[in-house]
């Protein structure tokens, strides 16, 4: 019998409840507004008073209104049908809601209960199994979706029976397992898991072994992210965070993409579910929507559910990872989630940390990032969750608690810079300040040597250094004047501009330039380094500028053309002609 209670205080969506029995931290409850149950989560208990955050508007709620506790935490329902769906932070299916407006207390099933799935058994009676072992599979579109021993099962079980192949709905018992005490347990295609707890039903979590391609040059070549790695994109507004994230979502080399729109604009979500069903994934030839799930808690949706939305997204990724898939989680923006934490902490009148954020912010963020990673499953196969979060630092100042906490947790740092955005140098990732720790991993180095070429990492570092030197030269030119420095400074500056314009910058809205496969990245970087290796001779800095501008223009035209197509070759020849005039 679960506890019940009565409302005794309300401040915005923080409601205090006088309880009549035991309640657990993070336990869910309904607070009743008439007959409508508003879902809420316990965030603090003091004596017999439970402080709950209500996931919806508390308008009209009164002291004395009743509440009933559910005896469980916020759980995700996991099973076939998650893919291509669009959920709110509490896993209500937004597509099956009828009204134009979100009605309070409205709940919809995450999974279609009637749809039949073509089931194929993978386990046999007598098999010994543990949590996350595969019992069977159904085809979820293109994806062989594994039906697993629920993650919540502890210890070893014996398969008593598995349903024969056939079409069943998700609630059909597809296997019966016997536990150590000889008790039989039914398993359906659906399992539940509390979103705030990491799914750890795997053998081990090794260090990342390879990189995940995104088709974005400044990421893949300059600051690659590993499969199972973590990265974050901080930047002031208007610097192209969203465009960059969408580019990664479209082009990222992953089987499953989960996008958590956390406290961001609704129109950005609309863009995804309008465009993704049309766009084709070049690697698989399938529509992008077929590999995408959207978790959507836009900025006008209930603040308390922001936190739930990122955890739900992570849980879904971990679920698919256990099927041996490569998942990519994109969360935009983790700052909004941190702000939601701040609002609640403020209402509970807790002592604030820096910038009024709760003091455990750093711990919460690093715990969350730690859930990403590549894992070896019980059957020896691997799966991965790669996580890229965006951060929206107040005033664009990176010295603020969310950015600083995230920097400690994430391994890749893609700093978007106002100055670059002002000059329309997109993506506005600062080439000098940004980093990928993975370039230092021996495993990743080995992978790049084997898959790209020997000495690739050194090449990348050389290019980075050229950019850095160019920046320094430019600083000198700005201080001393064009005439006040030797011509070599100008050449050094323009070499860095060459790399910037022809390689680091990329037009996300151009059909061809938007995505750049690794082979093409390598071709361009080789070409640029070859140019930068040459010695140039100019009479004046004016000549230097004109010459390099022409070269940059030609290289940019190449970026807009089909790789090694007719036009591409024409511009390549133009470039050769230019190089014959100067440089040797």
């Amino acid at each position: 019998m679960n506890s019940t209670g009565k409302v005794i205080g309300i401040v915005s969506n923080l409601v205090t409840i006088q309880t009549d029995g035991p309640v657990a931290e993070n336990e869910l409850c309904y607070v009743y507004l008439g007959d409508t149950g508003l879902l809420a989560e316990v965030i603090k208990v003091n004596g017999d008073k439970a402080f709950v955050q209500v996931f919806e508007s508390t308008r009209g709620l009164k002291n004395g209104d009743r509440a009933s506790f559910l005896g469980r935490m916020n759980e995700a329902e996991l099973g076939p049908g998650l893919l291509s769906s669009i959920y709110d932070g509490l896993e209500n299916n937004l597509a099956t809601m009828e009204d134009i407006f979100l009605r309070r207390g409205e709940r919809t099933e995450p999974l279609d209960r009637n749809r039949l799935w073509e089931f194929k058994p993978l386990a046999k009676a007598g098999n010994k199994v543990v949590a996350a072992d595969w019992l069977g599979e159904v085809m979820e579109g293109w994806l062989p979706h594994k039906i697993m021993v629920p993650f919540s099962f502890t210890g070893e079980y014996t398969v008593k029976s598995v349903k024969e192949a056939g079409a069943y709905n998700v609630d059909t018992v597809i296997a019966v397992l016997t536990d150590a005490h000889g008790e039989d347990i039914d398993v359906t295609m659906v399992q539940k898991w509390p979103v705030k707890i990491a799914i750890k039903s795997y053998l081990e979590k090794p260090r990342p072994q390879k990189i995940m391609e995104t088709g974005v040059r400044v990421i893949d070549s300059f600051n690659p992210i590993a499969e199972g790695g973590t990265g974050f994109i901080p930047g002031p507004f208007g610097c192209g965070k969203t465009v960059l994230q969408h580019a990664i979502a479209k082009q990222g080399e992953a089987d499953i993409i989960v996008m958590a729109a956390c406290g961001e604009r609704a129109n950005e979500v609309v863009e995804i579910f309008t465009e993704f069903p049309e766009l084709v994934d070049p690697r698989s030839g399938r529509k992008l929507m077929e590999r995408t799930t959207i978790i959507c808690n836009t900025s006008n949706m209930p603040v308390a559910a922001r936190e739930a939305s990122v955890y739900l997204a992570m849980t879904i990724c971990e679920y698919y990872r256990a099927m041996g898939l490569r998942c990519l989680l994109l969360a935009d923006s983790t700052s909004r989630w941190a702000q939601a934490l701040r609002e609640m902490s403020n209402r509970m009148e807790e002592l604030p940390g820096a910038d009024a954020f709760p003091v455990d912010l750093s711990a919460i963020i690093s715990n969350f990032y730690a859930r990403a990673g590549m894992v070896v499953l019980n059957n020896g196969k691997t799966g991965s969750v790669t996580f890229i979060g965006t951060v929206s630092p107040a005033g664009g100042n990176l010295k603020e608690p969310v950015t600083e906490s995230t920097k400690k947790a994430a391994r890749c740092f893609y700093a978007l810079e106002q100055n670059r955005a002002d000059q329309k140098r997109y993506p506005a990732i600062n080439p000098v300040d940004s980093y990928s720790k993975y370039l230092e991993y021996p495993e990743i180095k080995e992978y790049l040597e084997a898959n790209v070429e020997n000495g690739w990492v050194e090449k990348v570092l050389t290019a980075k250094n050229l950019v850095r030197r160019g920046k320094e030269a430019n600083d000198q030119i700005n201080i001393l004047g064009d005439d006040g420095v030797p011509i070599g400074y100008h050449i050094s500056f323009w070499k860095s501009e060459l790399i910037d314009f022809a390689f680091l910058q990329q037009d996300a809205f151009d059909k061809v330039d938007a995505t750049c496969p690794f082979a093409r990245q390598k071709y361009m970087l080789d070409l640029l380094l070859d140019i930068c290796d040459r010695k140039f001779d100019f009479d004046s800095y004016e000549d230097c500028r004109t010459y390099f501008k022409e070269m940059i223009n030609t290289l940019r035209q190449m970026n807009y053309c089909e790789f090694e197509g007719e036009d591409f070759d024409k511009y390549r020849k133009d470039l050769n002609t230019l190089l014959q005039q100067n440089g040797n």
Binding site: I8, G9, I10, V11, S12, T58, R59, G60, L61, K62, N63, G64, I86, A95, M97, I100, F101, L102, P236, F237, G238, T242, G263, R265, A266, N267, V270, T274, C296, T298, S299, N300, M301, V303, Q339, R342, E343, N346, P352, D355, A356, S392, A394, G395, G396, D422, Q423, K424, N478, G481, D483, G484, F509, Y541, E542, K549, N553, R556, Q557, Y560
Partner: protein
């Protein structure tokens, strides 16, 4: 309402601050309205039997024995076709001497649209101002503020945009408008003969600041009526959102909340988002577009109000006085329309986005040249050409007094390119320069 027959009157206030009062009361619901000594108030907090009310008109002169009655419902607005052409105060009461509205009573600050039911904005809103149409194209269903210093003519620009925009209804939400600006809007609307498609909710500087908190929700409740019930295209003008945020900070301060950046409440982002996210393109054809004003303190966009706004809205239009030409321009660097690519080159000519990018890039080169000049360095031939171009660009395209069609803006830009630069210097795709580069 059945409960209306009997209302308990309370006469003992436990505490009073400048914006709030607290008293012991029972059976009170969250966000319900009340009347405190004749002034409208709203429940913001209950703890045990202590209820805290935010008094919109301020608490000056409220005694501890003031009469308090609870009205049993949150703030509402009566909606109907009759709203058009009328002026209201923050409570939705007529201030133009006309009759009360006889319409359906609706709660303001209602629920949000299911994101899945939204449609992607795709209709261009032309304004004739090249700094907007060419560089930062507006789209119906968008939300975008003007960022401007208090001395910029933002209200005039906004009125121009509203008058030229092809929409069915315009809803003005004026917060802390000076009486002069209120009359300016009134005359502008009347002069354009557009009064019958305009609804105004106005709080002037003479009214209590906390009342402003009701204005955006009132304006948007009216907008939702026309957009959802009548499938109309509605443009909402909100000026000045900085004063709205200031009112928020007053209330949160009086309620002893811990302030975050710039003494703003920690919930500023959510509070602003709730308003701006009402902008929507609906499946049945109706839409709400929001153009707002956020005044800045000496161009400082890192202050919490513009900063949070920028993260919520779909871009911003930055007004700046250009000292080289004496014009007020829409700053191409700091301005942005996030939805522009939904219409650029799709609803406008194919060369739109490349021309826009090239013109801004060259303008950036001119800024570098200017820096050099200011630092006393010699300028190259290219620098000089950039500076000349920048002047032409500011006068013929960026200035807010430009009023031409988008194709003319593009042609003007090509002419400026040809006048000052070579094809290679513009860096535009060759297919486009072949087609559009003007012959000398």
């Amino acid at each position: 309402m059945a409960t209306k027959a009997y209302r308990k009157i309370y006469t003992k206030l436990e505490s009073i601050t400048k914006a709030t009062v607290s008293l012991r009361a029972s059976d009170v619901s969250n966000e319900e309205l009340a009347v405190v000594g004749g002034r409208l108030a709203q429940v913001v907090k209950t703890r045990g039997d202590i209820v805290t009310l935010q008094v919109f008109a301020g608490t000056e002169g409220v005694p501890t024995n003031a009469e308090v009655t609870f009205l049993g419902a949150p703030p509402t607005l009566k909606v109907g076709e009759q709203l058009a052409g009328r002026f209201f105060n923050a409570y939705g009461e007529p201030i133009d001497g006309g009759p009360e509205i006889d319409g359906e009573e609706r709660q303001i600050g209602g629920p949000s649209v299911n994101p899945y039911k939204r449609r992607q904005p795709s209709e261009l809103i032309p304004t004739g101002i090249a700094g907007i149409d060419l560089n930062n194209t507006l789209v119906s269903g968008q939300k975008i503020p003007f960022f401007a210093d208090p001395d910029q003519p933002y209200n005039q620009v906004m009125a121009d945009v509203a008058m030229r925009a092809d929409v069915d209804k315009i809803v003005l939400g004026g917060m802390g408008l000076s009486n002069d600006d209120y009359l300016f809007f009134r005359h502008a609307f009347e002069g354009a003969g557009a009064l019958d498609r305009i609804v105004s909710f106005v709080n002037t500087t003479e009214d209590p600041p906390v009342e402003r908190l009701l204005i955006p929700d009132m304006a948007l409740a009216a907008a939702e009526y026309f957009a959802v019930d009548r499938n109309e295209k509605v443009l909402v003008l909100l000026t000045d959102m900085t004063l709205y945020a200031d009112a928020l900070s007053i209330v949160s301060n009086r309620m002893d909340q811990i302030p975050s950046k710039d003494s703003m409440p920690g919930s500023l982002y959510s509070d602003l988002a709730k308003i701006y996210e009402k902008a929507v393109q609906l499946p049945a054809g109706g839409s709400i577009t929001i153009i707002a004003v956020t005044t800045l303190n000496d161009g400082d966009i890192t202050h919490a109000i513009p900063d949070n706004t920028g993260y919520i809205t779909e871009g911003q239009l930055f007004l700046r006085a250009d000292s080289d030409t004496g014009k007020v321009i829409i700053d191409p660097f700091r301005s942005l329309s996030r939805l522009k690519q939904l219409v650029q080159g799709k609803k406008t000519r194919e060369d739109h986005s490349q021309v826009m990018n090239a013109s801004v890039r060259l303008y950036a080169d001119a800024q570098n040249a200017k820096t050099k000049l200011e630092n006393g360095f010699d300028l190259s031939d290219y620098d000089l050409r950039c500076l000349e171009y920048a002047k032409d660009y500011a006068v013929n395209l960026l200035s807010i007094d430009v009023n031409i069609k988008i194709d003319d803006m593009l042609d003007t830009a090509w002419k400026l390119f040809a006048k000052h630069f070579s094809k290679a210097e513009t860096g535009i795709k060759q297919a486009l320069t072949d087609k559009y580069w003007p012959e000398r």
